[in-house]
Symmetry: C2
Subunit: 109 residues, 2 copies
């Protein structure tokens, strides 16, 4: 299936995937001039390995529980919680339960 990115002004559903979570994949919701937004899906025990991005990032837990590791600190992120990381900071995300997160990346020129 081709991935259709959202357009400006279009309503984007970011509610919990619930029963569909286990069969869902990470998807880019849109990538525009200044911002990219991804719904990251990580099943329990899986991780998004250490990486950096140039711009700042926010990670918001939509469902489940995850651990965000950055600058030698592990932070537990639960539903209704958000964390931000500065650009070029090596970080990884580990799912402690089946989880999804809204990841917003500032696209730095």
């Amino acid at each position: 299936m081709a991935i259709t990115h959202a357009s400006p002004g279009q309503i984007i559903d970011i509610s919990p995937l619930g029963e569909q979570l286990a069969e869902s994949k990470t998807v880019a919701l849109f990538k525009s001039n200044d911002i990219e937004v991804i719904r990251l899906v990580l099943l329990a025990g899986k991780s998004f390995p250490p990486h950096t991005v140039s711009g700042e990032v926010t990670i918001q837990c939509i469902e489940g529980v995850m651990s965000v590791s950055a600058s030698g600190i592990d932070s537990i992120l639960r539903i209704g919680q958000l964390i931000y990381l500065q650009g070029d900071v090596l970080h990884s995300i580990n799912a402690l339960e089946n989880a999804s997160a809204l990841v917003t990346i500032a696209l730095v020129k």
Copy 2:
């Protein structure tokens, strides 16, 4: 009370304000190099008047119902929904019920 902005890696609570909503004010959660994140509180019938920002913006409804007007289109935003707007687009937000939203602004240099 002095406003304390969150630091990178700090857990930020963005869960619904619920019973505290009616007594809450809009607050900047943090402003860093590339991103500013605000929790906008708008009580029913109130609006954030037409304005522009240079960078792109995402608006995520945390609770309540709001209408986002941009480029001549009114979009109804409910819990679990997100919309993004390109930079320099005149927009306004009107609360149809007591509402709060997470607003993420790309700080364009």
